[in-house]
Symmetry: C2
């Protein structure tokens, strides 16, 4: 039976989603460990987004094939019993045999949470990154408007040897300010390696006045990683939702 | 100058509020360390509530006398610069010379956060305690009604040798259910040692059907710790507010 799982995790303690050799400190590795024990044989879990080390998930989606016909609710209950307390399966259903969480994904939503100013939020400190200096939000919104649409995002891709198309559609980059908290939400068809973090890092340079908002068109046109800004820290980034 | 500070902290890593010998792992100890450095001499910080190990604070209040006449905003900024990231001063003002955070407090609000059912909230796991079994909330509310008012709460005090009056007023015990999340808020003039935790532990025994809601009157009348229920875990408890 093929299953679709919705996952939440606090990525702070992990080396990211993707299993790497025999490192046990990945989300995929933890999940495969628990589900392989349940299956009685090694199983492979496919995640929709390969989140970086330290990146969190509110709605990561994974697919996994297990022998037999265990009800999805039972798979979920069993996984939650054995998973560490910073990873949870929050929903599970039976899926079509051909469903593959990554290949079937039609869009993703990522969100950066920033804490502005001198007073940290002690309870959400692991889910936001802090910035003491003021930001010109209006300039950031102008830059964000230029960065949305369908473009070749090669300038925003950390993998210089990436061979496939680097054209993606970013539907929206939305800003939501609530006192000292700023959330920046990225909605798109898909994101290249480190693309959200480089978009955020570049927007921050605009916000600090280090770049003109209007220069974004030239940054895209350069198709060169060195034209864009620094990669923003993984801390504060969450994979919010995967669309199918 | 005497200052009133509003503090937030994630108590997970600490041995509670109160400085103990030369243990550095207390909130009071951390705060006194930072403020003594600022003052250039040892200072003593008085907290309104001596929160237990693992208990959090959203609105703990502390008073401290510092030499000179530094603006309160500067004391706050300096403290936040040197405090660890799980402790923050979120507000500060100059106070009357006679203001003492603990002695002047007229009331306190504590909140327990529980996560019911099999699915943990990975992002709030340190601020709630989990319970898999169902609870009879209606019975808990009936018991809570009997536990509010002005009573001798000796049965709910962990300090058997406590010499002073154990009469307190609990204004309200409120339940707020939101899907799998349950918040139980305790409002009162003051609480004895472990009183909130023993009230919560006793209410949980009612919720599980191990005690009758109606037996609360007899528990109060016994004036004996052994008549009440177990002490609930510190995890999930937060000092929300101190009233003056």
């Amino acid at each position: 039976m093929n299953y679709k799982l919705i996952l939440q995790y606090d990525g702070s303690r992990y080396d990211g989603w993707q299993r790497q050799g025999n490192t046990a400190r990945t989300i995929q590795g933890k999940l495969e460990g628990v589900l392989s024990r349940l299956a009685g044989e090694p199983v492979e879990v496919h995640g929709a987004g390969r989140t970086d080390a330290g990146v969190h998930a509110l709605g990561q989606v994974a697919s996994v094939k297990l022998p037999g016909a265990m009800p999805a609710a039972e798979v979920m209950a069993c996984a939650n019993r054995y998973l560490p307390e910073d990873i949870a399966v929050v929903d599970a259903c039976e899926a079509d045999e051909r469903f593959h969480a990554r290949l079937a994904a039609r869009g993703k939503v990522y969100r950066y949470r920033l804490r502005l100013g001198p007073v940290p939020d002690v309870f959400r400190r692991k889910y936001q990154f802090r910035l003491e200096e003021p930001l010109d939000l209006e300039a950031m919104e102008r830059a964000a408007a230029l960065l949305t649409g369908t473009h070749d995002y090669r300038s925003f891709c950390a993998d210089r040897r990436y061979k496939k198309s680097t054209v993606r559609t970013v539907h929206a980059i939305e800003f939501h300010r609530d006192g000292p908290d700023l959330a920046v939400t990225f909605r798109g068809t898909g994101f290249l390696y480190h693309m959200v973090r480089i978009l955020m890092g570049t927007l921050l340079e605009v916000g600090r006045g280090e770049r003109d908002a209007e220069s974004m068109t030239a940054v895209l046109a350069a198709k060169d990683r060195s034209a864009a800004g620094a990669t923003a820290p993984a801390q504060g980034l969450t994979l919010v939702e995967v669309l199918y």
